[in-house]
């Protein structure tokens, strides 16, 4: 029951896009065929995995604050800050060995993203500042900050004026599977999914998250320190999003540029919700969404549709899943009544 409903909702949401294709004069069947084609094709699958890596890292991170009802909408900004931190390392230590450089990029990326998450966490825990708004606003600030760097001091002088940094040297590139673009970030992501799963299921903080998610008053009764918990969780969540950013600049794009993330941070929110905040479930869902992004590309090239198409898919799927969720809850309440 707990799987069939979301799966049906997923399919329904997916299919509900059909009338929209018609509206722009595209045959829906062609569109769907293109999308499915992504998953039936080796290249399509590997690309889905590649695109899924930042999604996986960010959504795994989001499972933590969401569990305690802390609405971290700032994964996108935390991602950008991580990308920024990683790039800064490249500028600072361009001659180091790959091991040192990549290692420091990961650490700094994590820390910068984590700090970006700490700020709204502190504001909420201490001042009850609405975290939806604070994390959201910080997204814009982070994105603009990166823009400043890539349009300004960090711009590639040989880049024809485009807002991007020079290409990273080979020692700043994450190892990858030859023939594909799948990079080591996948391993990191899978490890993190496992770690966060263990964190939630086996550590005392995971327990504290569950209790706080039930009720802040019950958490107080249990002796839980809301401030400490929020700071810890937001640091990790922001850090993982930061790692996602690091993976983007170091594994795929190989430089920092304007629009380094086309909304991965927001898709991650949907993925975390669809995965019901289970980091292990986030793995297949991230790959699925990665596939949707690839499909979005294909639709753009093949049928002239906007890239925003994948956003539409994602939103429709989410809406149907939310609706489906509520239906099951209603039915359950009725059977108990």
């Amino acid at each position: 029951m707990t799987i069939t409903v979301p799966v049906i909702s997923l399919v329904l949401g997916f299919l509900s896009a059909a009338p929209l294709f018609l509206a722009v004069g595209v045959n829906p069947v062609l569109a769907y065929r293109q999308v499915l084609g992504v998953f039936l094709d080796v290249d399509g699958l590997t690309e889905s995995l590649t695109r899924g890596i930042p999604l996986l890292l960010a959504s795994v991170g989001l499972c933590l604050p969401f569990k305690m009802n802390f609405w971290n909408i700032g994964a996108e900004g935390q991602l950008f800050m991580g990308a920024f931190g990683a790039t800064a390392m490249v500028f600072l230590l361009p001659e180091s060995s790959a091991f040192v450089l990549l290692g420091s990029m990961m650490i700094v990326g994590f820390i910068f993203g984590g700090i970006w998450g700490l700020v709204p966490g502190y504001l909420k825990a201490r001042l009850e500042v609405n975290e939806v708004l604070s994390t959201l606003m910080l997204n814009f600030v982070a994105i603009l900050w990166v823009d400043y760097l890539v349009y300004g001091p960090w711009r590639d002088p040989k880049g024809f004026g485009f807002p991007l940094t020079p290409m990273f040297p080979p020692n700043a590139r994450l190892p990858w599977i030859p023939g594909t673009r799948i990079h080591a970030g996948l391993v990191v992501g899978l490890i993190c999914a496992g770690l966060v799963y263990v964190f939630l299921a086996r550590t005392k903080w995971g327990y504290e998250l569950k209790v706080t998610g039930e009720s802040r008053l019950a958490a107080k009764y249990a002796g839980i320190n809301y401030l400490k918990l929020t700071l810890l969780v937001m640091f990790i969540s922001g850090g993982l999003a930061g790692l996602a950013g690091m993976g983007l600049v170091s594994g795929i794009v190989l430089r920092l540029r304007h629009g380094i993330s086309p909304g991965y941070g927001f898709s991650a929110i949907i993925i975390a919700w669809l995965a019901r905040l289970n980091p292990l479930a986030a793995v297949p869902v991230s790959i699925l969404f990665g596939g949707l992004l690839v499909a979005g590309d294909a639709l753009q090239i093949g049928l002239g549709l906007a890239f925003a198409t994948s956003l539409v898919f994602q939103a429709l799927i989410l809406l149907f899943v939310v609706g489906g969720d509520m239906l099951t809850r209603y039915k359950m309440a009725l059977t108990w009544a």
Partner: protein, 497 residues
């Protein structure tokens, strides 16, 4: 009201109650908490529907299905918890829910009418003031005005003086007398003896959902009323071993704690509890007991004064430290706070103790230990569950309380703070809970128990303290206890230092 029967799951709140009210009469409705007074009036006001019984207004049988219908019949009620929207103005609250005016709130006309009523009854109020700015006494005036604006000539007041200062109380009585003089009727629900005697023409005493008696003004006698209210039935006596109490475990020194409504709920309170001693706090709920227990547990901040546990000041310690120091807390609110409903039984069984060995080593939880703890406690405390991994929301009230007790009592606590531990439990569970508490005392704990059940207090406590108005109005050992005196103290009429 004839032969009114109102049932709730597990309890008969009104058991064939008869009540009548004359024109221009002030009728006091007296009883302890749970006696059924508010329930009866909620039936009259249309909030509840009785299973049996009839209501007659001016000789005609009526069926009151909702407060709206009650209002149209001229019945108004001022509840204990004011039904006011805080950010709105007085005028807006009075106008809320009326059919007229339909669109444009003719604030000027309405304000005039309100001021007219307010002047007539000497209930000064500023129509433009916002509720959150008003004192409790002023808010009550708004509630009264609300009823009068809708033309009430039967006014029900539920525990009206619980939030008033003495001068405000006198004002209220003056108003009640004025209402009666005009030919309107007032029902005055209370547990306070002095007041009910000061203002009533007749007093009806309820106990455990039944009529005890109705007494006329001339025959009112404080001691008689007190014993009627409290009764002399003793359900069962537990075997209590006389044990010598040890050194003090909890010392409270001139404690003041603020309540939710901005007033001090606990005022300059001093008491001490010793090892192997049960201190029972008697008193009608709402006199500061909840706030006292919350302050000791750490859920509510201390405004001034000291709380010492075995000599160490803990008034500003975090809750986790207090848990570590050996304080067990069984709060009034079982469902939301003490046993989160979405967690499993075994998770709830370690709610306050998950930090300790062997349940966690500082980072990881030891699921094996948590599971075996759950198994042990479920068996030991006879908690009826289908399994330890079911969500807590599936437990019945009694079993939920057993869960909470199992958790709190199994850690060998030094001090146990229990608020209304047997409320809502059936006879079997109640007896079990009480025997558990006694066992804890025998093995060396100090217990603070707040209860509305005098039998419980009398049979379990070594010492008893009665709380009224945020203060302790009497302390004595259980052997010295005198039921009439206790009744008087609970009603605020007697003080024994």
């Amino acid at each position: 009201m004839k032969e009114i029967v109102k049932k709730f799951p597990g309890v008969v709140a009104n058991d064939h109650i008869n009540f009548d009210l004359g024109a221009g009469e002030v009728h006091g409705l007296l009883g302890e908490n749970g006696a059924g007074k508010t329930t009866l009036m909620n039936v009259l006001y249309g909030i509840l529907r009785p299973e049996e019984g009839d209501i007659y207004i001016r000789g005609e049988r009526v069926d009151i299905g909702s407060p709206r219908e009650a209002i149209s019949l001229g019945i108004g009620m001022v509840h204990q918890n004011f039904k006011l929207v805080e950010p709105h103005t007085v005028l807006e609250n009075i106008l809320l829910g009326l059919k007229e005016p339909a669109f444009l709130l003719n604030l000027k006309d309405a304000a005039e009418r309100v001021l007219e009523i307010s002047k007539r009854y000497e209930l000064p109020v500023d129509p433009k003031a916002r509720i959150w700015q008003l004192s409790m006494g002023e808010r009550q005036r708004v509630e009264i005005l609300k009823a009068l604006y809708r033309g009430a000539n039967i006014l029900i007041l539920d525990e009206p003086t619980s939030v008033l200062t003495p001068p405000e109380t006198r004002e209220l009585f003056r108003f009640i007398t004025q209402m009666a003089a005009e030919g309107r009727s007032v029902v005055f629900i209370t547990h306070k003896l002095d007041e009910v005697m000061a203002v009533s023409d007749r007093v009806t005493v309820l106990r455990a959902g039944r009529n005890v008696d109705t007494v006329d003004r001339q025959e009112l006698d404080k001691t008689k009323l007190a014993s009627m209210m409290v009764g002399r039935e003793v359900l069962f006596t537990l075997q209590k071993n006389p044990i010598a109490a040890g050194e003090p475990v909890l010392e409270i020194d001139k404690l003041t704690v603020m309540g939710d409504k901005g007033l001090a709920a606990v005022k300059n309170l001093t008491l001490a509890i010793r090892k192997r001693e049960i201190l029972g706090i008697a008193g009608i709920a709402g006199n500061g007991q909840r706030e006292l227990t919350e302050a000791i547990a750490g859920m509510r901040p201390v405004a001034s004064g000291q709380i010492r546990l075995s000599g160490k000041e803990i008034g500003r310690e975090s809750i986790s430290r207090r848990i570590g120091g050996g304080i067990a807390y069984i709060p009034e609110d079982r469902v939301g706070v003490a046993a989160p409903q979405g967690l499993t039984v075994s998770q709830d069984l370690v709610l306050r103790r998950y930090r300790e060995e062997p349940f966690s080593n500082g980072v990881f939880l030891n699921q094996h230990e948590i599971d075996s703890n759950a198994d042990t406690l479920i068996k030991e405390f006879n908690i009826m569950v289908s399994g330890k991994d079911v969500p807590a929301r599936t437990l019945s009230g009694g079993n939920l309380q057993k869960l909470i007790l199992a958790r709190e009592l199994s850690g060998n606590p030094k001090l146990i703070v229990a608020a209304y531990p047997t409320r809502g439990l059936d006879v079997g569970a109640t007896e079990y809970v009480r025997s558990l508490l006694l066992k804890q005392r025998d093995t060396g704990a100090a217990l603070l128990m707040v209860s509305e059940d005098l039998e419980e207090i009398l049979s379990l406590s070594d010492r008893i303290a009665v709380m009224y108005g945020g203060e302790i109005v009497g302390t004595f050992s259980a052997s010295e206890a005198n039921i009439e005196e206790i009744g008087l103290m609970m009603g605020g009429s007697l003080r024994k230092p």
